[in-house]
């Protein structure tokens, strides 16, 4: 690494990125610096973006716009955000440690491209979009389509993820986030997010997404199909558990076996739906 830059604006940051081939943006640095230490990534230059106020704002006015360089702890401390989209709070609550949450940013968690990114399943079920800026302008992409492969997203080399945008919360939607770790400080070995709208015992809307059980955070479309527009019954939940187990594509690694991960996804889908059922039509 030969130089460190602190550009005054997003536009300047993008220009630097084009000028400095092999450079990398840095925000919280909680992943990048570890990878640099281990020489997994060796950027030629670092371009800091965490000081840019346009990237660290949280705006809530019906919907929400989260600056990509906002630390996770700032999101968790924002009461309007936590009240409107509580599932996001659940996903961030047990995220790593207090120190990491103080530094790691929401955009960084997504751009790292980890299949285990805890924020991803929650943002996917919320229907969140990311705003991506390039020198030629901006584009919007659903979070669901952001991930390409482990460690790879659709944010191109000369682009910068600038914000995450949320639609107004579903009226009476019920969100649940569950994750499984080995100890309290761990990369999750399976996680799921569920957002359900139960009316008169029927699931009017259901969105399910899972982390750490496929090459990228994934939406559980097959499982949703079993549930959508149907009465939510214990039998239906048992079926959803089976379908979810088959729908995910986990691998075996040192944290857990593939079969165990499938099993946990099934259990979590069941638990999330049971929680929705218990909460009822309110």
């Amino acid at each position: 690494m030969s130089s460190y830059h602190r550009p005054p604006s997003v536009a300047e940051a993008l220009r630097l990125k084009r000028e400095l081939p092999g450079s990398s943006f840095i925000a919280g640095g909680t992943d990048l610096l570890v990878q640099m230490k281990d020489r997994v990534r060796q950027p030629t230059a670092l371009i800091s973006i965490r000081h840019l106020s346009e990237l660290t704002r949280i705006e809530t006015d019906g919907g929400a716009r989260l600056g990509a360089a906002t630390p996770l702890s700032d999101l968790a401390d924002d009461s309007a955000l936590m009240t409107g989209w509580p599932i996001l709070g659940e996903a961030l609550r047990d995220f790593a440690s207090v120190q990491i949450r103080g530094s790691a940013t929401i955009g960084g968690n997504l751009c790292n491209g980890s299949p285990a990114a805890d924020a991803a399943p929650a943002l996917i079920v919320l229907g969140a979009r990311v705003r991506i800026a390039g020198l030629d302008g901006e584009r919007l992409l659903p979070v669901e389509q952001l991930f390409e492969a482990p460690g790879r997203t659709r944010v191109r080399e000369e682009e910068l993820l600038v914000s995450i945008e949320l639609d107004p919360p579903l009226p009476s939607g019920h969100g649940v986030f569950l994750k499984k770790m080995r100890t309290a400080m761990d990369v999750s070995l399976a996680s799921i997010a569920s957002l359900a709208l139960l009316r008169d015992g029927r699931l009017e809307e259901i969105r399910l997404a899972a982390g750490s059980v496929a090459p990228v955070p994934m939406r559980l479309h097959e499982t949703e199909k079993v549930l959508r527009d149907r009465p939510l019954t214990p039998e239906r939940i048992a079926e959803a558990r089976r379908v979810a187990r088959d729908e995910v594509r986990p691998i075996t690694d040192i944290r857990a076996g593939a079969d165990y991960r499938r099993h946990i996804v099934g259990v979590f889908v069941q638990r999330a739906l049971e929680a929705t059922l218990e909460k009822g039509d309110r």
Partner: protein, 807 residues
């Protein structure tokens, strides 16, 4: 009553550590110091065909590149089966093939990576069973003396046989067998390994080493000096502040000899430090083991036999860890009363990473099997698990089949204490659907050191300066366990000085007296006893000096008192008649006479007495005394498994309540109780630290920790992938109780307590899980995945809301 003993007091090193002043190996720098890096093997087993160091030598800043070809061979290890740099072949992934000294750590690492090594891979062995197959390749073709070897079985023998096990087995009313395994465990010291070696102009060596055995290390390093042509030169071992030991410091290590070789080659101080991933990959973990055990009892639940066979995957070289069975034999023969016993073991060379000692030294492995299996026996006999332990409880005064002479023994109180505190009597009737259960397990360990060497002694030197400060030099190492706290309190109490006036000398072989090493929970026991002997000498010398000097000092004190308080009525007490050595007393740096009225000038500041003695006309004296304590124990005959290896034994019981999530396999500890016979509490604060820390390690052993290897390569060399419990996992109510049996051999009645805390934790948890869900996991760690697999095997996906064994 002692003003300091048994009272909570922060450790003397606490403030230094909390404020970053303590000097660890990482902090020590010497003028002109170079940094070392090691090139490790890339094969589990291979012949070295050639090493090309040219590219490495040409890198700017490199000062030396060494290999087996250009340095003398240094042999090490308890079987001398290891060499510092490997020349002929590599036997594990972490074998040291070459090393570099350079001006900074990055250059050293770059140069180490630039060394080119050509290998001829050999078939490798990754488990004891295949290593023992007929025709298996040999990890070592020859022993240290050059004699050909024919097997991968290590030449170490630990056996015990007593009574008639065949007859007892056929006569038993109930008998159960099981096979239990434990994984490789990383000691997880907060401070990683490192050393700094420096030769003085006379070619004497100083080495700052992360060691628990400074004096045996001095011997090892002196022997290395001989091997490099420096016979007769000396090594000074200095032990910096240690961020944990846990057994890693019981051996000397290849990296230390490599630092010595590089310092010798370059003429500069050379430092080597392991980073966390290197600590995982290149330092020896706790051995993995398999224990096959059967136990039987009569109709009344009295144990009639115990048959134990241990297999240890030793890895590629022998460390002191290869003597684990010496300690395994203690619980195998002496936990509960069992008349007929067989114990044997096989230690097998493989191409896995070689293993070394860790806290408990074989005892947790054996207790895991024994106490899990005892619950199975209780189940088979229809006896309550607590009751079967009471029936077979050890008692004071008994001599066990191994010849251990039990002096004090609070095991019965420990078992019953756990029962009471855990609410064992009400253990039936957990709410339906709440899969909760309780379990317990006990332990016995050496409490009065463990003799595994011809001397098991500790020396202490006490010195009082002219101002009444007491310096304690001990060869015992404080690696975080709090030995210095125990010594501070015992010194203050036994000599009679203020604890704030006690200074513990940094461990250094040039200033501290000999000590065999800090292991076997022995530090406070042996160094404490040596300290009490020295304190007695010190007091005798002080009181003898006081016979002549005290009257004048009192007279001076009286005069200055009266000058300051002219209205003082004259005291008509004839204190001179009381002056005799046995009448003196010394407390809190004040010398006075016993049984005298409270006359202020009769209390003399110790410093005044010392100065009076020091500067006495016609020949003064200094107050420096030493003592050497070797405990009353025997070096056992290991082939027969006989001998009283410790001066006394520590007992204890832990009880656990768990809640099992039968959907995910998660185990949550609801509460834990630990009752230990510690002999006597010296510092409750330090003791609590020892026990809580040990229990956290025990919980990790039970539920989370395992070094995962694939064909000899370690896959999880970091704390992201190797899980130790966090504060969240041990955030359960922990009820600690101590039984004070006042051990006659112990200093102030205390027993060793460093290792007992983690020994029964894993089986207690496993027994509680069985109580909760009726499933027994026999392999550690009990991960959710393993427990779930066991649940599914037992209940075939239809896990009952209530465990069948729930009462």
């Amino acid at each position: 009553m002692s003003p300091y003993l048994g009272k909570a007091r922060p450790r003397p090193d606490a403030a230094e550590k909390a404020t970053g002043r303590a000097e660890y190996i990482h902090d020590i720098r010497r003028p002109g110091m170079l940094h070392a890096a090691i090139r490790f093997s890339e094969h589990a087993h291979a012949r070295i065909k050639g090493i090309d160091t040219l590219k490495a030598e040409r890198i700017r800043g490199v000062r030396a590149v060494i290999t087996a070809q250009n340095t003398p061979e240094i042999r090490l290890g308890f079987l001398r089966d290891n060499v510092a740099l490997k020349g002929e072949k590599v036997r594990q992934f972490r074998d040291e093939v070459a090393a570099v000294a350079a001006i900074d750590p990055d250059v050293a690492a770059e140069a180490a990576a630039a060394i080119e090594v050509e290998y001829e891979p050999l078939p490798a062995l990754f488990d004891p069973a295949s290593a023992l197959d007929e025709g298996a390749p040999l990890v070592h073709e020859r022993d240290a003396a050059g004699r050909p070897l024919e097997t991968n079985l290590m030449p170490v023998h630990f056996r015990h046989s007593s009574g008639d096990i065949t007859a007892a087995r056929s006569a038993a009313a109930h008998a159960v067998s099981g096979e239990f395994s434990t994984p490789l465990i990383q000691q997880s010291c907060m401070g990683t390994a490192g050393a700094l070696a420096e030769f003085d102009p006379r070619m004497n060596l100083t080495i700052w080493a992360k060691t628990q055995i400074p004096f045996l290390a001095q011997r090892d390093f002196n022997s290395a000096l001989s091997q490099i042509g420096l016979a007769g030169r000396n090594t000074r071992v200095i032990v910096p502040a240690l961020g944990g030991g846990f057994g890693t410091g019981l051996d000397t290590h290849c990296y230390e000899y490599i630092a010595i070789l590089l310092a010798w080659r370059t003429g500069k101080p050379v430092k080597i430090l392991y980073k966390r991933d290197q600590e995982f990959a290149y330092l020896s973990p706790r051995q993995s083991s398999t224990v096959r055990i059967s136990q039987g009892c009569d109709a009344g639940g009295r144990l009639t036999f115990r048959d134990v066979h241990v297999t240890q995957d030793n890895g590629a070289y022998g460390s002191w860890g290869a003597t684990y069975p010496s300690v395994m034999m203690i619980p195998a023969t002496s936990l509960y009363r069992v008349p007929n016993i067989e114990f044997d073991c096989e230690l097998v060379y493989t191409n896995n990473t070689y293993a070394q000692a860790m806290r408990g030294y074989g005892n947790p492995e054996l207790t895991w099997a024994l106490e899990s299996n005892l619950d199975e026996l209780a189940e088979a006999a229809g006896i309550d698990p607590l009751e079967i332990r009471r029936i077979n409880c050890n008692e004071p005064g008994e001599v066990t089949p191994m010849g251990l002479r039990v002096t004090t023994c609070g095991l019965r109180e420990c078992i019953e204490g756990v029962g009471e505190r855990l609410g064992w009597k009400n253990k039936g009737g957990w709410g339906a659907g709440k899969k909760r259960g309780v379990g317990l397990a006990s332990m016995v360990h050496v409490g009065g050191s463990g003799r595994i060497y011809r001397s098991d002694a500790s020396g202490v030197i006490l010195r009082l300066d002219d101002y009444g400060n007491l310096y304690v030099a001990s060869g015992g190492v404080d690696m975080g366990q709090g030995l210095h706290s125990a010594l501070q309190i015992m010194a203050a109490d036994s000599v009679g000085v203020d604890p704030e006036r006690v200074f513990i000398t940094q461990t250094d072989t040039s200033t501290c007296p000999w000590d065999v090493g800090t292991h076997a929970s022995r530090g406070a026991f042996t160094a404490g006893n040596a300290l009490l002997m020295a304190a007695e000498k010190m007091r005798r010398q002080l009181f003898e000096a006081a016979i002549d000097l005290y009257p004048d000092l009192v007279e001076q004190a009286r005069r200055s008192w009266i000058r300051a308080n002219p209205d003082t009525p004259p005291a008509d007490f004839d204190w001179r008649a009381s002056v005799a050595p046995e009448r003196f007393q010394l407390r809190n740096n004040l010398l006075s006479l016993r049984d005298t009225p409270p006359i202020p000038w009769l209390e003399i500041d110790l410093a005044k007495l010392i100065r009076a003695a020091h500067f006495r006309a016609g020949g003064g004296e200094m107050f420096t005394v030493e003592a050497f304590y070797d405990p009353p124990s025997e070096l056992p005959d290991w082939e027969r498994g006989q001998g009283n290896m410790s001066a006394c034994y520590t007992y204890g019981t832990q009880g656990v309540e768990v809640e099992v999530d039968t959907d995910t396999g998660d185990v949550k500890i609801v509460a834990m109780v630990s009752v230990l016979d510690v002999g006597r509490v010296i510092n409750p604060q330090a003791l609590r630290g020892q026990i809580v820390g040990a229990i956290a390690q025990g919980v990790g052993y039970a539920l989370y920790e395992q070094v995962i290897t694939e064909k000899g390569r370690i896959l999880n060399p970091n704390f992201t992938d190797y899980k130790i419990p966090t504060a969240v996992e041990i955030d359960f109510p922990l009820d600690l109780e101590y039984i004070e049996t006042d051990e006659p051999a112990g200093p102030y009645g205390a027993k060793g307590i460093g290792e007992p805390g983690l020994t029964p934790t894993a089986p207690a948890i496993a027994n509680a899980i069985f109580d909760a869900v009726g499933v027994r996991v026999r392999d550690l760690p009990i991960t959710p995945e393993r427990l779930l697999a066991a649940l599914h095997a037992r209940y075939d996906d239809h896990i009952p809301r209530r465990a069948p064994n729930a009462r």
